[in-house]
């Protein structure tokens, strides 16, 4: 390859990288980070030592046909998927975007419901058969004092049902 074309490639790279970064920022603010993108994670959040820390976390609530209620951690449902994916799956698929706002329900296909049933049955065989499934989101407050952290409060912020699309 001639030096002329190599120079052009570099000029292209130098223009492309900031442009794609700007695009990542715009799309990321709108939905989620696009892929592929040439960025590393920013971890830009900061934590103030005098504040309490509020962490949003989810719990699945399963009901069997006898009406018994079971609380399950996302890790129970998502077992088999690498743990590093769990937080993002919960955030993107069980919190925003994919919940039907009118009915406050996440509709899934028959295949999807079967998968939930299998996952629950595999890890919690006592829940058989699965009749209803809910997701509850909590804001859990932790107090930070003298370099120690302790749970203070827990507040239900959102509850919705997962069911097969009609």
């Amino acid at each position: 390859m001639s030096r002329y074309y190599i120079r052009l490639i570099f000029i292209g790279i130098l223009i492309f990288l900031p442009l794609q970064y700007a695009l990542v920022g715009i799309i990321g603010a709108h939905r989620s980070e696009p892929w592929p993108a040439f960025v590393f994670p920013g971890f830009k959040n900061v934590f103030h030592a005098e504040e309490s820390v509020t962490i949003s976390s989810a719990t699945f609530v399963a009901l069997d046909s006898a009406g018994n209620q079971f609380e399950l951690e996302p890790a129970d449902i998502l077992k088999g998927i690498p743990v590093s994916h769990h937080g993002a799956i919960m955030r993107y698929q069980f919190k925003r975007y994919t919940i039907d706002r009118d009915s406050n329900t996440k509709f899934v296909s028959d295949e999807g419901w079967e998968w939930f049933q299998n996952q629950i049955h595999k890890n919690n065989p006592q829940i058989t058969p699965l009749k209803e499934l809910y997701v509850e989101w909590y804001d859990r407050v932790f107090i930070f004092d003298e370099m120690e952290i302790s749970p203070d409060d827990s507040r239900l912020t959102h509850r919705f049902e997962i069911k097969v699309a009609p």
């Binding site: 390859m1 030096r3 190599i6 120079r7 490639i9 570099f10 790279i13 130098l14 990288l17 900031p18 970064y21 990542v24 799309i27 939905r31 989620s32 980070e33 696009p34 892929w35 592929p36 993108a37 040439f38 960025v39 590393f40 994670p41 920013g42 971890f43 830009k44 959040n45 900061v46 934590f47 103030h48 030592a49 820390v53 962490i55 976390s57 088999g80 998927i81 690498p82 743990v83 590093s84 994916h85 937080g87 993002a88 799956i89 955030r91 993107y92 698929q93 975007y97 994919t98 899934v108 296909s109 295949e111 999807g112 079967e114 998968w115 932790f142 930070f144 003298e146 370099m147 952290i149």
Partner: protein
């Protein structure tokens, strides 16, 4: 003037010869096969998607957005086996240009599906390397291509500065949002905040995590916030000098090791690109060539075929580093073998950093002496 500097940066800053790149090619292939381990957690690991329903398919904007669900199980088997086979072919340098492109594309496809659930791992530099290096001379030496008289163009080390600018820019994108987010405020303890989050919420309590949680030293935490930003933003400027790039890549290994000790997060895939700038590939290339000359049987097609097949089987069924995980189970989602790999890199990086800094100090003091020397006095 600017054009001259620009040319100098592209063509002269990174003095890689084809044999040096060939040595790196061998390292890259081995890293893919035995550290990133196709088919095993946690990196080039795709077969876990075989049973997932399309309801969980949540692709980011990009090419994956055109698809509607996960492929069937056989696809992942084919993909992971394809990555292993192409990595072995890259190792022996067979049809290097096409194999490099194929390997990069296969990794991109696998990662594309893996990142279609919400989580994106920022390891795009791993497939980017062979996609760029396909146009370098990394298949011209220590390769089957050379023996078959099918060498790719030789005088093309420009992909190295191209990879450097991608890495430098990506590092910058890690540092810049921190400045906007308030990391530079003396009242914020951003690193400490992330530690608290990882330790208490995500259960990352391994290694020195608990020690650092109890470390009541605002000066230390503010220093870490500033040092992180300085390091990440500074990377962008390091790309203009090979020596500084080497120093920053060594610092990156130390940085990732510290992050692993404190936050229990490893960035193992990044090591593959740091290695390009840290290690002395010229010496490695010479040594490998001497070794091959001394052991002529290595060049025999029969040996290449049987060793290649053995490598494929080993990488697919008995990846040697994977058994290390059985020695220790960690509380966090890290795997023990990553700790071992990062520790080895740390030792090597510290050694090379010390040597590079010593050389820099010695050469600058020598320059000072030459400058102040006046033969007429």
């Amino acid at each position: 003037m600017i054009s001259e500097k620009f040319n100098k940066w592209i063509f002269d800053t990174y003095p890689f010869q084809p044999r040096d790149l060939a040595a790196y090619r061998i390292f890259y292939s081995l890293f893919i096969l035995f550290v990133l381990m196709p088919g095993r957690p946690s990196y080039l690991y795709y077969n876990f998607m075989a049973d997932l329903p399309s309801d969980l398919f949540f692709p980011p904007y990009g090419p994956m957005f055109l698809l509607s669900g996960f492929p069937p199980a056989w696809f992942y088997l084919l993909l992971e086996t394809g990555i292993v086979v192409t990595a072995v072919l890259l190792l022996v340098g067979y049809k290097t240009r096409w194999i490099s492109l194929l390997l990069g594309i296969l990794i991109l496809i696998g990662n594309g599906f893996s990142y279609s659930m919400g989580k994106i791992n920022h390891d795009i530099i791993v497939p980017l390397i062979p996609l760029f290096m396909a146009f370098s001379g990394w298949g011209a030496y220590l390769s089957a291509d050379k023996k078959l008289s099918d060498p790719p163009p030789v005088d093309s080390s420009w992909p190295v500065p191209a990879i450097a600018i991608f890495l430098g820019f990506m590092m910058f994108t890690a540092g810049f949002p921190k400045i906007l987010g308030g990391w530079l405020s003396l009242e914020s303890f951003a690193t400490y905040g992330h530690l608290i989050n990882q330790h208490f919420i995500n259960g990352r309590t391994d290694f020195l995590s608990a020690f650092f949680v109890g470390l009541d030293s605002p000066v230390f935490w503010v220093f870490l916030d500033y040092a992180t930003i300085l390091f990440e933003v500074g990377f962008l400027f390091a790309v203009f000098s090979f020596k500084w790039m080497r120093i920053f890549c060594c610092l990156a290994v130390i940085f990732h090791f510290s992050v692993m000790m404190m936050l229990n997060i490893s960035f193992t895939p990044n090591l593959i690109v740091y290695a390009l700038f840290i290690f002395d590939w010229r010496r490695a290339g010479v040594n490998i060539e001497l070794f091959i000359r001394k052991n002529a049987f290595i060049r025999e097609p029969r040996f290449v075929l049987s060793a290649g097949s053995l490598l494929i089987l080993t990488a697919l069924f008995f990846p040697p580093l994977y058994w290390l995980n059985s020695l220790m189970t960690l509380q966090s989602d890290m795997l023990f073998y990553e700790t071992v790999v990062l520790s080895i890199f740390l030792i090597l990086a510290l050694r090379i950093l010390f040597r590079t800094l010593t050389e820099m100090v010695l050469s600058s003091s020598l320059k000072l002496k030459v400058k102040s020397y006046n033969p007429h006095v």
